[in-house]
């Protein structure tokens, strides 16, 4: 199964943008991600629709963050991306007539719901500012090593 890596992508993009003065073009972002500029436009476009970033055409154009890093959580980004399915494992049929299958679904749904709630709660606690701070620490440590 192919994993959805859009959340990972937009986080990577937003953090690079946060480390920069001017805007970043789709091409620059795509180079960071080793992907295609159109893929970046498509994905970042969802953030633009939510008002988290802005884009501009033409020379000196590109993408800029238009939100407070301390107020944007991973959960919010997950929602902005359309809340894609988190689990790659699931029930065979969603609303089966078979009573046996209903028991199976109830057990699995319960466990998955708990895990999803935990994951989303964690996502709700992590902001872009937290990630930026983590990056600063890693960057400082890296400079230390290469001093």
């Amino acid at each position: 199964m192919k994993r959805d890596s859009r959340l990972s992508s937009v986080l990577h993009a937003l953090l690079h943008m946060a480390e920069r003065e001017g805007p970043m073009t789709s091409g620059e972002l795509a180079a960071c991600m080793r992907t295609h500029p159109v893929v970046m436009r498509r994905t970042m476009g969802m953030l633009r629709a939510a008002g988290l970033v802005r884009s501009a055409s033409g020379p000196q154009g590109g993408w800029r963050i238009s939100a407070d890093l301390a107020k944007v959580t991973l959960r919010q980004l997950h929602e902005t991306l359309g809340e894609p399915a988190i689990f790659a494992v699931g029930n065979r049929h969603e609303t089966p007539a078979c009573l046996v299958e209903q028991s199976v679904n109830a057990a699995l749904d319960g466990a998955f719901a708990e895990a999803e709630a935990l994951l989303l709660a964690r996502f709700g606690q992590i902001t872009l500012a937290d990630l930026a701070a983590d990056f600063s620490r890693r960057h400082a440590a890296w400079r230390e090593r290469n001093a």
Copy 2:
């Protein structure tokens, strides 16, 4: 992304088998699941390799449970099925050189690891006997309603 429903399938199959005296053929199981007999053979074959079920060829052949329902947990079945990836969402690159991406991955990996640990812990607490008991309750309630 296509969801892996094999755990759901084998649970459904095992519970039907538990409700039965004799063996069940791949065709009967496939009819319960609305799928193809070969799919059942393939999936059940993994359980057979782990000693959880037995199969026999020829007339009066089919599949039987060869384990104690109270001792088989959902976690064990998940492992028997090869521990398929639980999440449909993940990192773009697993071991990036980019420090920014390392921060992103660290945050996501932490949250996913917690959620996975919770899910597997829950799976470890649920046995086939629990599901069979839940089915009995549902079945009794169903007979009550249709009395």
